[in-house]
């Protein structure tokens, strides 16, 4: 698997060196979540009620932020042709790109979640479930996102198009992610919602790379 590791290593190196996408995703996540107390007012009860929903929606939007560039720069400068010609199966290359997208945007957002949760007065009891949900759910966002990113290669204003394509696909993850965090409050533990999230991940893990790779082959013809 040297090719698989090479893609991830290079993406991480680029992300660190250019400092762009990861830092931007976290700042967007924190700032967007910060808007809600101003918008709905600082009452702790109201905020606590909606906190997990806010965290999930803003995490989803933060993941979308860098999504259109998942394959775009590689496609524009010809690197995608080299990836296609490498011995690595294109599906696995997509998986590598998803993993690096998640490491660059999903993981930092996950790390910033406790701070944002505190800011939104989330009940500390539901924080572990919220984190667990995000841990399973954010890779799902990256995986579904890869389909949108691959399909919109070559389209004008691809960034907006990606969001329109991908947002509806992410709704199930959102529902069950928030469900898991909220269920923790009434002691039903929310493991059911986590199981559904896990099923979503198990579904997306093999199928999204297949779909995205097919779209990439089309883009490279």
């Amino acid at each position: 698997m040297p090719s698989f590791a090479a893609i991830i290593r290079r993406d991480l190196r680029l992300a660190f060196r250019q400092g762009g996408d990861g830092a931007m995703a976290v700042m967007f996540f924190v700032l967007a979540a910060l808007l809600f107390p101003f918008g709905i007012g600082p009452e702790p009860e109201i905020l606590a009620r909606v906190a997990s929903g806010i965290v999930w929606v803003t995490a989803l939007l933060a993941a979308l932020l860098a999504l259109d560039r998942m394959f775009l720069t590689d496609w524009e400068d010809g690197t995608l042709e080299l990836i296609r010609l490498s011995p690595l199966r294109l599906e696995l290359a997509v998986l590598a790109k998803c993993l690096s997208h998640w490491l660059v945007t999903g993981l930092p957002v996950l790390a910033a979640t406790p701070v944002v949760a505190l800011m939104l007065r989330l009940d500390p009891a539901s924080l572990p479930m919220l984190m667990a949900g995000l841990l399973i759910g954010t890779p799902v966002l990256s995986l579904f996102g890869s389909i949108g990113a691959a399909l919109t290669l070559g389209a004008r204003r691809g960034g907006v198009l990606v969001s329109l394509l991908v947002l509806p696909l992410e709704i199930p993850a959102l529902i069950f992610g928030v469900g898991a965090a909220d269920a923790a409050l009434d002691a039903s533990a929310g493991s059911f919602d986590l199981q559904i999230l896990g099923a979503l991940l198990a579904f997306a893990l093999p199928l999204c790379p297949l779909a995205a790779a097919a779209a990439l082959r089309q883009a490279l013809e």
Partner: protein, 223 residues
């Protein structure tokens, strides 16, 4: 690498369509080990398209390619392993250095690079090893893209206008690389040979198709 380093690369009855336009049809070629094939034809006649089809990006609308008699489409993976394709785009990231770029290409190809110097030296890039690609001139970028050819041996080189932006020294170096490659039994396909010294190269003309002749009425273009 398990790939056999020599072989006959052939194309039979090749045809391609782009959009609504027919590019070429009924093309045949046969490339023996050590041979060079130059694609000739005006701009837009499908030279790049043919090279991309040879590399396995998409399928020809008619005909097929074969390697030593075995149809290439049957084992696309083996075909990818035996070729180097250098297209119009250089595949460089502004933030990565010359060596890092080369290492990435080598690792992507499955053979981690032990000595970047040997791949950089032939095209005169050794002094630029630590330079980020954003500081390279367009000729230097082209040379770096071409140094991919030295990263791992491959019997088939597909070069799309490799000479663009190269100075005389780099052209001589590229000619020497190609000569060395052919001496070792490798074959090469180029979309132009301007500035590159090639001994006894075959030519495949993409120019003389009836639908591209201006003296024929447009009504004859039906297919």
């Amino acid at each position: 690498m398990a790939t056999n380093l020599q072989g006959h690369f052939t194309g039979t009855g090749l045809g391609a369509v782009r959009g609504e336009k027919r590019l070429f049809s009924g093309l045949d070629f046969r490339l023996a080990p050590g041979a060079a094939l130059v694609l000739a034809g005006p701009n837009g006649s499908g030279k790049s398209s043919l090279l991309r089809l040879m590399a396995g990006f998409g399928r020809p609308s008619a005909g097929h390619f074969a390697w030593d008699g075995t149809e290439v489409a049957r084992d696309a993976e083996a075909h990818r392993a035996r070729l180097h394709y250098v297209g119009h785009q250089d595949g460089l990231k502004p933030a990565l250095t010359v060596t890092e770029t080369l290492r990435f290409w080598a690792a992507l190809g499955g053979t981690p690079l032990t000595d970047p110097e040997t791949a950089l030296a032939p095209l005169g890039l050794a002094a630029l090893a630590g330079t980020p690609c954003r500081f390279l001139s367009s000729g230097q970028r082209r040379r770096l893209a071409l140094s991919r050819l030295s990263v791992r041996p491959a019997p088939l080189w597909l070069l799309d206008e490799p000479a663009v932006g190269l100075d005389t020294a780099a052209l001589a170096a590229l000619s020497a690389l190609i000569r060395h490659h052919r001496k070792g039994g490798g074959s090469v396909v180029l979309s132009t040979h301007q500035g590159i010294t090639l001994d006894d190269a075959q030519t495949l003309s993409l120019a003389d198709f009836p639908w591209r002749r201006p003296d024929l009425p447009a009504a004859d273009l039906d297919w």
